[in-house]
Every structure is written in C-alpha cells, then in structure tokens.
Amino acid sequence: MQKDISLIGIGQTKFGEWWGKSLFTLIEEAVDSAIQSAPCSALDIDFIIVANMLAESVNGQAHLGAIASALLPHHPPALRVEAACASGSIAVHTACALLESGRAETVLVVGAEKMTDATSDEIQTALMGAADSEKDAPSGLTFPGIFGLVACRYMHEFGLTREQLNLVSARHHLNAVKNPFAQFRQEMTPEQIGASALVADPLRLLDCSPVSDGAAACILSTKHRSPIRIAASQTSTDSVSIADRPTITSFAATKDAMERALDEANVSTSDIAHLELHDCFSIASLIALEDMGFAEPGEGIRWYEEGKPMTVNASGGLKACGHPVAATGIKQIIDISKQLQASGKTIGLAHNFGGVGATCCIHILQHSPHAHT
C-alpha cells in the first residue's frame, strides 16, 4: 500500500429477514455504529462509498451515494460501486485508492442490500445479473445452477463425495452459533445438510447462502490510527460466463488477486491466522482454499476434515451469517478485524468474489496491538 491506512471504525446490522426495515434504515444503522466505534467524529469523514448490487431492480432505488451522504450533517461527496457479490470489497478497494491518492483522508464505506422486499423469482432473476445475460441466462440457469455445474465437474475431477461436501456447511453453521450478527445461529449436522432439498443437483438448499437483508460499514483513514491496518487490497477479474473459461474447477481471478495481495503485504500463506472466504455455495469454499494456495487442487476438503491452525470462516461465512450481497465484503473485513483483536494474532485475510469468481477482491489486515498512537 502506498499509504498507511487504518481501519478505525466498524459497524453492522444483524443479517436476516428485516421486514420492518428499509434499505435506508439498514444503511443508517450500520453507519451509526461504525461512527460510534471510531476515534473521530462524523465530520471527519470526507468521502462516502456505497456498495450495492440490487437496489434498482429489487427496491426501485438508485442514487445511493447521495442517500448515504444525507445521513451525515456535512453531506460529504459520495459514490456507489457495484461488482455483484464483490461490491463490498470493491468499495473498500476504491476507498483505499482515494486514500492512497490523497483525495480523501477518512472514508466511510457502507455496503447494504435489502433482498426480502422481492419474491424469490424476482431475486433469482436479479442475481443472474452477476452472470452473462446472453450466454448463461437463456439456458434457464440460476446461480445455484451455475455452481451446480461447478460442483458436478469438481466431483468428477477430484472424486469429492456428497458426504464430504456436507462437512462444509455444517462447520459454517457451527461457527455461527457464537456470532450475534449471524442470520442462522443454529448447528446443523452433516446429515441434515445432505438431506435438505435439491436446488441444483448436486447442490442442496443447505449448500447455498441465503437471501438476506443487512448492512455493514467501516471507516478507513490515513489521518487517524488504529491497531488494524490494511496491508493489501488487490482485485482481479476473469470472463463472466463459465462457457468462456478453460476450467470451471478453479477461478483464475482468485489466484491472481491472492498472488498480488501476498506480494503487496509481503506475507506468505503460512502467516495468515484468520481467513474469511466467499462461501456463496459450499463448493466455492473448497475451490477458494485451493486457489489461494492453502490446499492442493482437490484437497480443499481437508480443511474441513482435519483440525488446522488457521481459522476459516469463524464468523459462520456467507452460509450461516447470511449474504446481503454488497454488505458481505465489508462484513468479512469487520469479522477479520474482530478475530485479530480477540486472538492477538497478526495477519488475517478476507476473500470476496462476484459472479462465478469473475471479480475477486482480497484484503489482508495486519494487527499491531501496541504500534498505534
């Protein structure tokens, strides 16, 4: 990073079905708690970046930059970014660019999604916007369908069994029991995962992250200091349609972003104590572990079969925390910062992607308890 950027404030709503709250209320709640946790006042914020994917199609609301800006007394400049499910991390990446350039000194980033206002048909169609509308959608595919193709191919290539795959969501549900912000805080046995309804063969309901409402916000600053700094922020892209890829059991954008992030932070995979990865579908966790270099191809499942020192989705991940699309990338960064502060360890990593890994954004956080002033 060209400047020393600290994460000085964090806040989020509990993810879930919030029938009584609007998109605006969710944003307000997350922003309020982020400002309250920060060592500065709201007036120090000199730029706002809003992450959102679906508001136009689902909530009939565009222009979210100005909406978020109206929450603060001095109406700082604001913009909105979108990169499907990677919107949240891309917003943080954009904030880092503003901070590095010197255009801003303290930036508020907020990601929000209000999904339960729409019927499941509408949500399904809206989410397909993250895929290729001319190559993928006309075949009648849904997003679970695309990952169904990925899972089917993965099982064929590496011999992964349904019983093994059950372990992934079961672990994430177990982790979420301790997370007060998670949508589903109940334990699920591997048998329950394997017995849930088929959504897109071989994927079942409990392989899929849910439809959720929620918002998450954080404040980044080059002016104010905190024990958590951003050591790397890297993003990479790939073709949007899986029909344009040479392989569907590995995502090139994850590999590329990871390589550059490790390089930027000057750390290696063995330094990482906490990992939050993008488990929009159970199979995606295994591929992410492999693409990031934590496992050989086909062996990502070992992280769920054996005990390992690094924590993976200690928050419960997308599966159990819920996945209000654009809030997720910011929520992951919030979780990593909390985990580092709780464990006293130094390095944590958040991995967030959009579509079928067509946009990947990786952040590495560094915790130095006594360094800041």
Binding site: E134, P144, V150, R153
Partner: protein
C-alpha cells in the same frame, strides 16, 4: 425487468443458434429444480458442452438416461416456451447419446500455438504462408497438407500425395488431426493434416503454419482447442461479395491450375466460404483483406513475432 424471452433477446439468440447446431461433449451438468420465471416450471437439466468447433456453450439436455461427463451429445431443435405475447421460442437442446467422447477435452493441456490461414480458393493463402515461412524460417514451419488427389501442374511443395485408400487408413488410425472430404463432381478431393507433422514442428520450438479451409479449421480447433489456433481469415479485396468473387475468378484463371469446370465449382464453394466468415466469426482472431501483399505480410509478421516472444 428484462426477461430471457424479450423479442430483441430472442432475435439475437436466433443468430447465435446457427453456430450452436453442432455435436459436442458434455463437460458438466446440473438439474435446476426451479428454473427462473419465463421457463416451464419443472426441473430443467442443463449442461456445459464443448462443441466440435471448440466453443463452449450452456444448453438444455434432452433424453431420459442419466447424463455422464464425457458423453457425446447431438443438437436438435426444441420448442422451449411460448411467451405471454404468443411468441413461440425455439432453442437448441442437446440429446444424450450412448457414446463417450474419446478424449476428455477439459483436462487437455495447452499444446502450443498453430498459425492458420483460412479463405476462399485463390485468395492467396499459400503464397502468404510460403513467403512467411521463408521470411521467418527460425520461428515458423509449414505443415504439409495430406491429400488424396493427384498432383497438378502449378502445385507448390505444400502437398503430400497419398492414395485414397492410404488416406482412409490414416483417418481411421487417428494419424490425422483434422480432415475434410470435399464433395466434387470433377475430382475426388480429401485433405488433412498429420498429427506427427505438427508435433515435430512444435518439438523444434517453431510455430506450425497451416493453410486451411473451413472444415479443417473446425477440426483443428476441436482437436487442439480453439485457444491453440491463431487464426487469420483472408478476404479478397472488394466492397461487395460480387467484386470479391470476381477478384477470385481473376486469380484462379491467371494461375492456370484448374480447368474451367473446376474453377466454377471453386467459386461456388468460395461463396459459401465468404458467408462462413460472418457465421463462424468465433473461429477467427483476425480478418485481413489481401489487397497489398507486403502490407498483409507485415501485419502477420508482427503477430507471429509477438507470439514467438511470448
């Protein structure tokens, strides 16, 4: 909200449909229990398929048996749905066959690049490839065309002549990577490339250069993967199809290799070839008009040196 069956989308899908009417190999499949709005509300089986021309597509699978990865699928037209305005929407679905494809295409490694020149008879493919391999003999080498037809006056050294029987034997034994039987009244013509020739050129660290036509190009892309082919389409100069064809006629007559009957037939084929440039645009990386030979060679040389550097 835009639905998958809006008239404009359907019209664009219609254009793409033609290039999808090919058999292929199943790479993966899934059954979507609840398809999106606008599709029949029953489980829908969808496959990721690699077609024989190397392109990958997503399409609906038909047939009662359980699909298997690696299975050969064949296309057929299918009434997909009737939209609320009564527009009947057809699409290509892929029927599962009993056969398994010989190679698992996805795990195939990237073998290297092949330089391909495609274009109608008389456009100057052979001239360009011969000049290029002379100019860049350190980087490129011509792949001989194996043919069952008799040698002709005016042939350059590009052909390797075999008997029709020998050609058939090579085709069956898998010695050829791509072949085409061109139907003809005046002569029996089969053309192909030997696998061994291409591998030998790669082993020397050079780029194989093939002079090809549509079927052979499709075959090559199917065998080595589309990404292996750096494909140049060559067009005769002219703003309309008619002027292009008259250019070709002029060149074919002046090289004096073919009889009048053969020329007439080649022109008929050339018409189809010109259509192919738009129909199978995916198969070409660059379309070049062969008006000024030096300029064309300069452009191609640039691309080759870039590849050689990489």
């Amino acid at each position: 909200m835009r639905t998958p069956d809006s008239p404009a989308l359907a019209a664009r899908a219609l254009v793409r449909r033609r290039s999808r009417l090919l058999p292929g190999t199943l790479l993966s499949f899934t059954t979507v229990t609840h398809p999106p709005k606008g599709f029949p509300d029953r489980p829908r089986r969808i496959g990721l398929i690699e077609l024989t021309d190397g392109q990958r597509i997503l399409g609906m699978l038909a047939g009662n048996s359980a699909p298997k990865i690696g299975q050969v699928v064949i296309p057929r037209m299918h009434l997909s749905r009737v939209n609320p305005d009564g527009l009947r929407l057809y699409e290509v679905t892929y029927e599962l066959t009993d056969r398994m494809a010989e190679t698992a295409t996805e795990t195939k490694e990237f073998p290297g690049y092949i330089l391909a020149f495609t274009g109608p008879s008389g456009v100057g493919k052979t001239t360009i490839s011969l000049l290029l391999t002379k100019m860049l003999s350190d980087f490129t080498s011509n792949v001989p065309i194996v043919t069952s037809r008799a040698p002709k006056k005016g042939d350059d050294q590009e052909y390797d002549y075999v008997t029709p029987k020998e050609f058939e034997r090579m085709e069956k034994s898998g010695a050829l990577v791509a072949w085409a039987h061109l139907p003809s009244d005046s002569e029996e013509r089969s053309y192909g490339y030997r696998k061994a020739d291409i591998l030998a050129i790669w082993e020397q660290g050079k780029l194989p250069v093939v002079v090809t036509e549509m079927q052979l190009l499709q075959g090559l892309a199917g065998y080595f993967g589309r990404r292996s082919i750096l494909s140049f389409g060559l067009l005769p100069p002219g703003n309309s199809k008619r002027t292009m064809l008259s250019h070709l006629l002029h060149r074919l007559r002046s090289r004096g290799r073919e009889t009048d009957a053969q020329i007439e037939e080649r022109l008929l084929n050339a018409q189809a070839d010109l259509d192919y440039f738009t129909r199978a645009a995916d198969l070409f990386d660059h379309i070049i008009v062969n008006e000024d030979l030096d300029a064309v060679l300069h452009v191609i040389k640039g691309h080759v040196l870039e590849l050689a550097k990489a």
